[in-house]
Amino acid sequence: MVSVEKLREKVKGILAREDIKYVIGYEKGTYGFRVSPSFAFTQEDADRFIFSPLCANNLAVYPMLEEKLPLRRDQKEDIRKVGIVVKGCDSKAVLQIILEKGMKRENVLLIGIPCTGVIDPRKIENKFPHQAENVDVREDDDKFVLIVDGKTQEIPKDELMYDKCIYCENPTPILYDILVGEEIHSTKKEDYEKIKVLEEKSLEDKWEYWSKQFERCIRCYACRNVCPMCYCKECMIDQLTPLWVRRSRNVSENTAWNIMRAYHLAGRCIGCGECERACPMGIPLTELNKKLEKDVKEMFNYTPGKSLEQKPLFAMFSPEDPQEFIL
């Protein structure tokens, strides 16, 4: 597991540089098992930084959220770098945004964390639903060690870990400037078992399943806002002329929103699962994303977030591309 002291030391070193605006990392949350994104501007701020198996958030979203307000005549654009603490999956998001030209490589400084799997907040909060006090969680080989109310208990990692971590192929960030700790390699492979089961269902069953899920959607757009890949200046859902999706909340409009969101991420989603984590209505959004990921892989042999040499899927064409779906 990553040493917090080492992380803070590296962040402090980075903050001492003049070309750094601030560093985004994690700090202890305000209650229970929560961890909070943290912004360090000064050396003291860096002392708040932590890294633990609870650090699920993909911080790559933050540089994309930064407001670029019009400059006044005497103002100059701040071109200093933003430091971001990234896990394997998070680094894929940064990489994909860079190759889509959503941000420039030189504008970010990546502090890589070789990650051995993070805890799914839903799984742990289901186990300890009334834990208000902040607790300590660390990792010990294939177990998580939890200190809850002074009592230490061990839980096998697979019981609490995100599904995405169980199949993680890139625990070490693909893209980083500074690595905290040693590189780790994974022999795991995504097998899409869950998606295959869904694929085999009949059209009616699929519709029943998804319409039940989408019926719950409250259109808070947390799935979009938490997603580092959703960085359009103006989202189609917010447009009024033309009105692509009505504001009314019903199965039809909700379905349109959820499907459009997923399709806009085809060949772009790097599978961090933040949309599903953020969803307050428990909609299994990663299933949609995974299905598209699988299709893109099978049809175009393309995996997003893999290398800076790659082009975005929709910026490529090959005569061998499958065309059966074109009428």
Binding site: E133, S248, G282
Partner: protein
């Protein structure tokens, strides 16, 4: 009750607790902490049709039906019931909202005392606790084998009058257990804020750099406002095809940049900081100034569901509003 009224109660829908119409008592999930979406949605729906229109052969406008169903909201928590009293101020304010008010008049609130408050519950910070009868028509408290029933209004009296055969009179032992249940729930609430003087303190904190700090992590999604039992902002849209359509009222959120965006393109709340600050000021400063009540009931939903751990208790503590 199901034969005479439409009954809405807490139902587990794919792991999420929602207030839905029930046709059979077995559908109810009575052991819930609180619903994910507050029952305000039953009074102030996320989508409500105001009127329908059609253009051909002639322009025709068809008013929406006024809600007149006899509805029982079963199992509403005292905090959420209180939120309706807070919303009343708005919907009975300068403009009377006929849809909301018709429902408030017809719907009977059968409350259920909290026995297992959630981690972020802090209703006791607002003087009304987990077993307050104040804003419900009837309050049920689980005292083991039976419910302790308290009727608090004529509407409640009328409802309960139909089921007289189900009740036995209370004994002093029952009263004692009810008190114990309430005290136990109060003890289980671990978080609190002290909002005394919050209005004046916030008056002097508007330009504080703290708002920028907290807003840096905000994603400006709609979770905190949509799931807040007292948030009540809406947008009005015409949704139509070429020949017919409807004017609908839908929830809106001050967290969205479009919320304040003007037709010219100018946005008076351009940054996340402006919007995060507005949400907190609206609840703890503007609302108390306008209506002499805090627009927060301490249900903790905004804290529970925030994907980036923005915590209103912590925020008010850190900015020096609460606790000092």
């Amino acid at each position: 009750m199901l034969t005479k009224y439409q009954v809405y109660g807490p139902v587990n829908d794919g792991g999420v607790i929602l207030f839905k119409q029930v046709r059979d008592a077995s559908q109810l999930d009575i052991d819930y902490t609180n619903s994910n979406v507050p029952p305000k949605a039953l009074f102030f729906g996320q989508t409500e049709t105001l009127f329908k229109f059609s253009l051909s052969p002639k322009v025709k406008i068809e008013a929406a039906n006024m809600p007149n169903e006899r509805v029982v909201i079963f199992g509403i928590r005292p905090c959420d019931a209180k939120s309706l009293s807070i919303l009343d101020k708005v919907f009975k304010g300068d403009y009377e909202d006929p849809f909301y008010l018709a429902k408030r008049k017809n719907y009977v609130l059968v409350g259920l005392s909290c026995t297992r408050p959630g981690v972020n519950c802090f209703c006791t910070s607002f003087d009304k606790g987990p077993a307050s009868t104040e804003n419900v028509d009837v309050l049920l408290t689980d005292i083991g084998e039976k419910y302790y029933v308290e009727v608090n209004s004529d509407k409640g009296e009328e409802l309960m009058g139909g089921f007289k055969n189900l009740f036995t009179s209370t004994k002093s032992k029952d009263e004692k257990i009810r008190k114990e249940v309430e005290e136990k729930a109060v003890r289980a609430i671990t978080r609190s804020i002290n909002i005394e003087g919050a209005v004046d303190k916030l008056d002097n904190l508007f330009e504080n750099s703290f708002w920028k700090t907290i807003a840096m992590k905000c994603l400006t999604c709609g979770i905190c406002t949509y799931l807040c039992p007292t948030c009540h902002c809406f947008d009005i849209q015409d949704e139509s095809t070429l020949t017919k359509g409807a004017r609908v009222r839908v929830w809106d959120s001050c967290m969205f940049p479009e919320y304040t965006c003007q037709a010219s393109g100018y946005n008076p709340r351009p940054e996340r900081m402006n919007r995060v600050r507005n949400r907190i000021y609206h609840k703890y400063n503007y609302y108390p100034k306008n209506y002499a009540m805090t627009a927060c009931v301490g249900c903790g939903r905004c804290i529970d569901n925030c994907p980036v751990n923005i915590d209103v208790i912590d925020a008010l503590n850190r900015v020096g509003v609460a606790g000092k």
